[in-house]
């Protein structure tokens, strides 16, 4: 298919300029997102997964800036597009729900007020129409007695219910892309299951794309079609969920998979990744994961590995694949990206 993807991010670099120096939070991230797909971005704290999402909406803190790269939404360039363009994008075309439903709502206004405000900001609806739309949205996210709930304040809602309200608000203007930044991390597991199922069913109904940012590989396995694994601001591996889970090709991803306890690991030792995440102020020349990698080679410390195509559904940036693959000719260097390996 030659059609333009819904969202095309190319070589995105986002930095924070702090008194201690430039923190390269996102360091050359590229991906495409198709309509109706769920893309998972996985990584540990500080891996740049949230900053990637905030860059898409350009809601970075004042010290943060997109340094270079391109973000194309339906063919329209968003980097340096200006605030007036972004205002038409945020909420209308890309919406976001945040991790903490307790702090995302204003405690001094009713739920209805906040929903109506969001709807009227982005559409021409009058107050009455916005009210009706709000009630309709609350019903969509399975909030009981929506008319009554509209007049209530956030403190009268439980955590799961508040997250439903956030989803209702995010979806009220029918965005093309919903960014969910750790949407269920603050919730209990049975409530998490409800919210994930709700997101999946609404997604199928409305056909939007979801970018799911999470550290929970279980949530990714359940929800995502495609997965990006991030470490220290870079993508280390990218592919379909099946490829990432059953055929990981980056040492970091392999380490993550070994670190999760499952029913089979009971009574035995986990095999954790040693060491601690890297300091983004002191990034090494080579692969950012090399200092923690058990299989690091000389080349890993010296040179960063470019993206390599494992197969049509799978890309990884790990020299181990070259070591394993070059002899049998199974691996082709991604020429489009310049290719760092000879």
């Amino acid at each position: 298919m030659s059609t333009e993807p819904l969202l095309k991010v190319t070589d995105l670099h986002t930095s924070f300029f702090t008194p201690a120096g430039e923190v390269r939070a996102v360091n050359g991230v590229s991906f495409n997102l198709e309509r109706g797909k769920v893309l998972g971005i996985v990584g540990e704290s500080g891996s740049g997964k949230s900053v990637t999402a905030y860059s898409l909406m350009q809601i970075l803190a004042s010290t943060g800036k997109i340094v270079s790269g391109s973000i194309k939404l339906g063919g329209q360039e968003l980097v340096n597009a200006g605030e007036s363009v972004m205002k038409t994008v945020r909420g209308n075309k890309i919406s976001i729900i945040f991790q903490d439903p307790m702090t995302s709502l204003n405690p001094t206004y009713t739920i209805g007020h906040q929903l109506i405000e969001a709807i009227r900001l982005h559409t021409d609806r009058n107050k009455k129409q916005a009210w009706d739309r709000s009630v309709e949205m609350l019903r969509l996210v399975n909030v009981n007695e929506p008319e009554k709930r509209m007049k209530q304040y956030p403190y009268e809602f439980s955590g799961g219910m508040r997250q439903r309200v956030m989803i209702a608000m995010a979806l009220a203007c029918e965005p093309d892309i919903l960014i969910a930044d750790e949407p269920t991390t603050a919730l209990d597991v049975t409530i998490q299951a409800q919210i994930l199922e709700l997101m999946k069913s609404i997604q199928e109904e409305l056909g939007m794309a979801i970018i799911m940012i999470t550290h929970d590989l279980g949530v990714v396995a359940q929800m995502c079609d495609e997965v990006i694994v991030m470490y220290a601001g870079s993508i280390c591996e990218q592919g379909t969920a099946e490829e990432i889970f059953y055929n990981p090709k980056h040492e970091y991803t392999k380490g993550l998979m070994r670190s999760i306890p499952t029913a089979d690991t009971a009574g035995s030792k986990l095999k954790p990744i040693t060491g601690t995440p890297i300091d983004l102020l002191n990034m090494p020349e080579g692969c950012p994961f090399a200092p923690r990698c058990d299989n690091a080679m000389k080349v890993c410390i010296k040179e960063r590995c470019e993206r390599m195509v494992i197969n049509e559904d799978h890309m990884a940036s790990c020299w181990m694949n070259v070591k394993d693959g070059v002899e049998n000719g199974a691996i082709v260097i991604d020429v489009a990206k310049g290719g760092g390996a000879e």
């Binding site: 704290s45 219910m161 209990d188 299951a193 690991t265 009971a266 986990l270 954790p272």
Partner: protein, 330 residues
């Protein structure tokens, strides 16, 4: 055989009909008891890890704190190593043998104390050394044991990462050479790769020091990994208790079933094929707990009988206890 005794293994901790109520103001001069823990009995054998799971507000943390008498239990008894905890002196002695690791490695360490003072504080309180030399030797030994660089003893907590802070908290809990540690969500604030390191450390310490754990967590995969037995709580009551593999694979209680089925499995094929038993609604407020079985308002098996009386905590198969009126029909 009852919940609290076992023929083969001697229990280290016996909890009998523990109740912990908090008075909550509901009007200007009115207060109402919040039943955080309501008649819970169980025992923990020497050397085992008992996992305690449940959703927020179910009372699992309160159980841990009440065992250590950080709260004065409203009713019920805690028997530690065969002796009933009654007097102030008993509590003092208990706290030498039973310590706690807290959830949040940020707020549980005093930012104005150095690492060596944090780890040494229990030693100071219980006067466990004869001279300064002995104190600092013990602190360095503890830091070494939890994998902290002993050169960092004079640093402050903010200079460490989350995983390292949790190691400081563990070193502090080990300072008095305890037999029993209440681990209250000790890994839930940590990243996956760091979490695995800390879980391994808990297992190693248990082997080396013959520790007994009460491991409180909401992450069922973590609890399943580390525990010998698992207890499930809902709204202040214990609803099921069994061997870890048994409760994970053959849960009886409708709540445990839906809890186990809600765990997102880190495997796309399993996760998508998984039939979740969806629960409707939210957990009721513990201030207005339903009559009878606390789970009946969200239970698809509930009958009138469930509203009338709280089901007994009965043994349905060897070592497997369930509190449900309809357990035989499930």
């Amino acid at each position: 055989m009852s919940v609290t005794s076992d023929k083969n293994q001697q229990p280290l901790v016996d909890v009998l009909h523990l109740k912990q109520y908090f008075d909550i103001n509901v009007g200007a001069f009115k207060s109402k008891p919040l039943k955080a823990v309501d008649d819970v009995s169980f025992s923990i054998r020497k050397g085992e890890t008992l996992g305690l799971v449940g959703e927020s507000g179910c009372g699992k943390t309160t159980v841990g704190r009440s065992i250590l008498h950080l709260y004065r239990p409203t009713a019920g008894e805690v028997v530690f190593n065969g002796s009933l905890i009654k007097s102030k002196n008993d509590i003092n002695e208990l706290r030498k043998k039973a310590t706690m690791v807290f959830q949040d490695p940020y707020s549980s360490l005093n930012p104005r104390m150095t690492v060596s003072d944090i780890i040494g504080e229990p030693l100071d309180i219980h006067k466990m050394y004869t001279n300064r030399q002995e104190r600092s030797e013990r602190i360095l030994e503890l830091m070494d044991r939890v994998g902290l660089n002993s050169e960092h003893a004079s640093r402050y907590a903010h200079e460490f990462s989350g995983g390292q802070r949790q190691r400081i908290g563990i070193a502090r809990a080990l300072a008095l050479k305890p037999e029993f540690i209440v681990c209250d969500e000790p890994v839930s604030a940590l990243d996956v790769s760091i979490q695995a390191q800390v879980i391994n450390m808990f297992v190693e310490l248990q082997e080396q020091l013959a520790l007994t754990y009460l491991f409180i967590a909401h992450d069922i995969l973590v609890v399943r990994h580390i525990s010998d037995r698992i207890a499930v709580m809902y709204l202040g009551k214990m609803v099921e208790l069994a061997n870890a593999a048994e409760i994970y694979e053959h849960p009886f209680h409708p709540y445990t079933r839906s809890l186990m089925s809600a765990v997102p499995q880190p495997d796309p094929k399993v996760a998508r094929a998984n039939k979740r038993i969806a629960l409707t609604g939210d957990i009721p407020s513990p201030l207005n707990a339903p009559s009878g079985c606390p789970f009946r308002t969200r239970c698809s098996y509930a009958t009138e009988h469930c509203a009338e009386s709280m089901p007994e905590f009965n043994e349905v198969s060897s070592g497997h206890f369930v509190a449900c009126h309809r357990v035989n029909e499930l």
